[in-house]
């Protein structure tokens, strides 16, 4: 059953360059650019102004609305200005902080209260005040995910360690190095949700991580039912709906959420950060990323402060071996390619890849030849070719009938298309045109 979802593709995983690397700390940048929207939902509201002094981990943007997340300062220093700065979501109000003063939050003592004595809602409020979002890439506010409406009965927590994106190895490295912490984080999350069962799903190209997690569960012997499931290596194994089907055989209804079928999925990185938020009361101001691609001098897994710009990172990662043709924030399949080195690392940034023209082939796309490869590859059972043709001809009435909203934006169709058609982009255009959102 593992890996039993339909469709999917087998891109070369390219993880060899970084999957044996230990975590290194990147230096703290002199200037941090912290966007107020780093998550899905409403942007946070700035509660500091230019000239204010902020501590490390101090709240600088408070969540505005139910689906929103707090934003904290990554460095101690002075707020220089609040500007519209380039981010991966185009332009966002961004707090610029110049470093000065003492670092305090990095070496926080363990909170004297044992988390075992906390109730579920207390845990969730600690998670909420840490500004936690899903660290796998989509950056959905975690506290919202952990507070399902009472009529939705959650029975299983899935911890997503599939990491099916090529190049990215940050979750792999986390599971090997911090297995105990991840299990503790899983137990905390289970307590917050009130579930008795958790499954950690890991693709079988990460045997080291599977063994590390299994050994740790055996030796720690937690009272809860936590198991590790080895999954077939296939993209998009780590997509929420595909992971649920592979592990539990349950199908998320069209345009529904995992909580509709009693499941909550959290990334291993999120689970690790949840532990830090609950045990140390540490806000989310740093994260682990993979810096990779064929043009970076020292590819590896790094711990980085949120708000560091790409240009700050390059130096410490060995510099560039040539002018990159494409800089991708996130994985190569789902990530966004960016045009500026000024774009800061945000909570949802799982990796930064510097790719040469050998790997990132550009060029115009060609007409659809109706080979059907995209239909075979689509893990959601859609017809990307038809959606693409409809959107290309601006017939959004036709594309609307082909369920564009079931698309998970995994990019498998664009990957297999022999005409190099930007099919997932076409589908995205359809979604935007149909909902009438500003494109």
């Amino acid at each position: 059953m593992s890996g039993g979802f339909r469709g999917g593709i087998h891109p070369h995983d390219k993880k060899n360059a970084t999957n044996h690397k230990e975590f290194l700390n990147l230096p703290i940048p002199q200037r941090c650019f912290i966007p107020l929207q780093q998550h899905i939902g409403a942007p946070a509201k700035a509660i500091v102004k230019a000239g204010d002094h902020v501590e490390e981990g101090q709240l600088i943007g408070s969540s505005d609305g139910f689906i929103s997340a707090d934003v904290h300062s990554s460095i101690p220093g002075r707020v220089i200005e609040i500007i519209d700065h380039l981010t991966i979501y185009y332009r966002q109000p961004t707090v610029v902080i110049e470093a000065e003063g003492q670092f305090s939050a990095s070496a926080m003592p363990r909170d004297p209260d044992d988390w075992g004595t906390l109730s579920g809602s207390e845990i969730i409020s600690r998670i909420k005040s840490s500004g936690m979002v899903g660290l796998g890439g989509a950056a959905f506010p975690t506290s919202v995910k952990l507070s399902p409406p009472p009529e939705k009965k959650i029975d299983t927590l899935l911890v997503n360690g599939a990491e099916c994106e090529p190049y990215l190895t940050v979750d792999d490295a986390l599971m090997r190095k911090f297995s105990l912490e991840i299990i503790e984080g899983t137990r905390i999350t289970m307590r917050a949700l009130g579930v008795k069962k958790a499954v950690i799903g890991i693709e079988d190209n990460k045997q080291g991580a599977i063994n590390a997690m299994r050994n740790e569960i055996r030796s720690a012997n937690p009272p809860e039912d936590i198991t590790v499931k080895s999954l077939k290596t296939r993209y998009p194994q780590g997509a929420e709906k595909q992971l649920i089907y592979s592990i539990l055989g349950r199908i998320v209804p069209s345009r529904g959420l995992p909580m509709d079928i009693g499941v909550v999925v959290q990334n291993v990185g999120t689970v690790f950060a949840i532990r830090e938020a609950v045990v140390f009361k540490k806000p989310l101001f740093e994260r682990f990323i993979t810096v990779g691609g064929d043009l970076i001098g020292k590819p590896g897994n790094y711990k980085v402060r949120i708000g560091s710009r790409i240009s700050d990172i390059i130096e410490e990662c060995g510099g560039l071996k040539g002018a990159p043709v494409k800089i991708v924030v996130g994985g190569p399949m789902c990530g966004l390619s960016v045009h500026s080195m000024d774009i800061p690392v945000v909570k949802g940034t799982s990796g930064i890849l510097f790719l040469s023209d050998k790997i990132a082939k550009g060029g115009p796309y060609l007409p659809c030849i109706r080979c059907g490869k995209c239909v075979k590859a689509c893990p959601m059972g859609l017809l990307p070719c038809e959606l693409g043709n409809a959107a290309e001809n601006e017939r959004f009435d036709l594309s609307g009938e082909l369920n564009p909203f079931d698309c998970i934006m995994c990019g498998s169709c664009s990957y297999v298309c022999p005409s190099h058609r930007p099919l997932s982009h076409f589908i995205k255009v359809s979604q935007q045109k149909i909902t009438g959102r500003a494109v």
Partner: protein, 293 residues
Amino acid sequence: MLDLIFPSIWAVLSLTAFGAIFGLMLSFIKVKLNVEKNPKIAEVLDCLPGANCGACGMPGCSAYATRIVEEKFDINLCPVGGADSAKKIASIMGVDLGDGAAVSMKARVHCQGGRSLTKNRFEYNGPLSCSAASGVMGGFKVCEYGCLGFGDCVRACPFDAMYMDGDSLPVIRWEKCTGCGFCVKACPRNIISLEKQAIEVHVICRNREKAPTMKLGCPVGCIACKLCEKACREVFINEPTVDTAIEVRDFLARIDYDKCINCMKCVEVCPMPVIHPITKSKVYLKKNSEVPA
């Protein structure tokens, strides 16, 4: 004998009989179930241009005509027919056409940064439509306000009144433009607007950045020098109610079409030139006179 002449006499007779029966039925139904239709609808429909473009918001001309007659709908909604058809409809419906109603409008393009002039931030390989391109990091051009040149507006035009020129900029065929506004809606950058036909002047730029920032990406944008505003103030110097018709706000000259008198003073002084019709600007004339004939 009869069989020889008409081998299918029964077929002929039965078909005739069927025809007669159905004909009678239809004429009976016509009389019995007749729907009284206001003759004005047909008259109003004759006044409308019959383009069925939908610019009035109704599915087509006949739907609009029906609503005018039956629901006393606003008669100024047809931009294609414009003042002419509104006048005719007003006389049919016996209503007063009010003041300033149905001024003929034309679409204007507010960008002259073609692909050969402007600089790009990155190479774009996605779907060839402006709305898709503007969704990727705010567009591939350095200028975040300029035309992306994939022709969404041209494809939206139901009257063949637009085309893309050699430099990927939309051009409006003035005589064909009906002012339906479809191009305005299609443009994700808000570069096209509808303005009164009588006034020729318009600013061919939408960039709201300061001149040095704007110049990084485009050599032909508005630099907000305010010469046009000064010239316009002089025109209206003896007018107590009007201060100026052209004003620089957010580093972009904007024309108030309610005040503009089409005097071309702003066009003449514009140093870029970035106010249409640029052929009347002093800079343009000087440049072109230097070129040997």
